[in-house]
Amino acid sequence: MSLTQEEIFEKVKKVIVEGLGVSEDLVKMESSYTDDLGADSLDTVELVMALEEEFGTEIADEDAEKLTTVTKTVEFILSKN
């Protein structure tokens, strides 16, 4: 059963809140990990690993590099869904 965009966003948000220790209301579709959510390069690697766990999927390094915002992440997962 495939997930809707809204369902994916909620799951991604949960992973971000837990991984980056930011409050839920800060995480918006347009948020950038580094500019808006204070993530550094190690944080983003860990975030991608947590997303792989959450969605039971593998994200290749060249794809992971492009996932700089919540929107891009949700769209990527939707495309693999």
């Binding site: 980056l20 220790g21 390069s41 190690l42 690993m49 792989e52």
Partner: protein
């Protein structure tokens, strides 16, 4: 260049005998063992199933959830002790940032993290290894992390010399201030090696007591029937300061560090040199550094691990160093109560010794029942002794033949 006097203005600890200096002292005075059965992982196939463990401490009191998740245990322990030590010292780090350094030791560092990540690598592949593995694992990150949290921008490094790590860290911090390279140093040691691989490794080396049925009396330094050491975990942190700097800011001075000595055995990877030759040299160097004679030492906090080899050779080393005074000086091993905290041992033992100086009470070697002809000095068996203590010596010896000795006295 004239050298500076170095004093101690803050202490903090998290160890099997207490989650603060106050709890630690209460526990030491009660003279009861703080060793318990390991319940954090399945130990049913281990030859040793007990240790001195940290219990009931909530790290989220001092760090946020994300930080706790991204730190290995030895850094959490060390940071908790640092918070307590800095609070007692009243040191304003921001105001003197570049003059305040950090030098903390650990024997093994983040072995808990290395172990978990090795399992992840083996079972699920390299993509499952956390990007925080290296920063969580490396020993020097304890000093790095504490500088990040406190803002201390002075000299920053870690000392590694197995079970002497904490003493080398304090010795280096002492020399740094003595030689005018820093005004204050956050120093001490931290260790969290009670993990499946840590325990299995020490079991394999036959270093540990296997007296699982009598685990609370298994750590029995200098007793004829001693069978090995008992692992412990935790941290001890002290704030060392240049005397004038501490006086100027009106700090309460707890004690003074007056000497440090270190040496290498050049003998064997784990066994001490015969007659404790290297340890004896470190004691002599420390006495010379403090410009005192053996008879000026009122108490020795022994390395006293409860292994056959250490206790026998340390006794020989005390005899060759102290000569006539060897039989008079009060000695004890607080490891009989706390277990052996490896790289953190020297730091919690310095704290214990300072508390003894402040209270004029000697904490005994507990579990001492049967004298060993090779260990025939005054180990202060089983009962606390009230005695004026002005100057103490604390010994630490590590695998690899590292010997470190620190001398601390009442501030006057």
């Amino acid at each position: 260049m004239s050298t500076k006097r170095v004093v101690i203005t803050g202490m903090g600890t998290l160890n099997p005998s207490g989650n603060s200096v106050e709890e630690f002292w209460t526990s030491l005075k009660s003279g009861k063992s703080n060793i318990s059965l390991i319940d954090e992982f399945d130990v049913s196939r281990y030859s040793t199933r007990f240790a001195g463990l940290i219990k009931n401490y909530d790290f989220e009191q001092i760090l946020d959830k994300k930080e706790c998740r991204r730190l290995s245990k030895f850094i959490l322990f060390g940071y908790a002790a640092t918070v307590e030590a800095i609070k007692q010292s009243g040191l304003n780090i921001e105001e003197h940032a570049e003059d305040i350094g950090v030098e903390i030791g650990s024997g093994i560092g983040g072995i808990d993290v290395l172990e978990k990540m090795t399992i992840a690598l083996h079972e699920r592949g390299p993509s499952k290894v956390s990007p925080f593995t290296v920063p969580m694992m490396i020993i020097d990150m304890i000093s790095g992390f504490i500088s990040i949290k406190t803002g201390a921008k002075g000299p920053n490094a870690s000392s590694v010399s197995a079970c002497a790590s904490g003493c080398h860290a304090m010795g280096n911090a002492f020399q740094m201030i003595k030689n005018g390279k820093a005004k204050a140093m956050i120093t001490g040691g931290s260790e969290s090696a009670i993990t499946p691989i840590g325990l299995a490794s020490f079991c394999a080396a036959k270093s540990l007591s296997q007296d699982n049925d009598n685990y609370q009396t298994a750590s029995k330094p200098f007793d004829l029937n001693r069978t090995g050491f008992v692992m412990g975990e935790g941290a001890g942190i002290l704030v060392f300061e240049e005397l004038e700097f501490a006086q100027k800011r009106g700090a309460t001075i707890l004690a003074e560090v007056t000497g440090f000595g270190s040496s290498g055995d050049a003998y064997h990877i784990t066994a001490p040199a015969p007659e404790g030759e290297g340890g004896a040299r470190a004691m002599k160097i420390a006495l010379e550094d403090a410009s005192i004679e053996p008879r000026n030492i009122d108490y020795i906090n022994a390395h006293g691990t409860s292994t056959k080899m250490n206790d026998m050779n340390e006794t020989a080393a005390i005899k060759s160093t102290f000569k006539d005074h060897a039989h008079d000086v009060a000695i004890s091993s607080t490891k009989s109560i706390t277990g052996h905290l490896l790289g953190a041992a020297a730091a919690i033992e310095a704290i214990a010794s300072i508390l003894m100086i402040q209270n004029n009470i000697i904490i005994p070697t507990i579990n001492y029942n049967t004298p060993d002809p090779d260990c025939d000095l005054n180990y202060t068996p089983n009962k606390t002794v009230e005695k004026e203590i002005n100057t103490i010596m604390s010994n630490s010896f590590g695998f690899g033949g590292h010997n470190a000795v620190i001398i601390i006295k009442q501030y006057a």
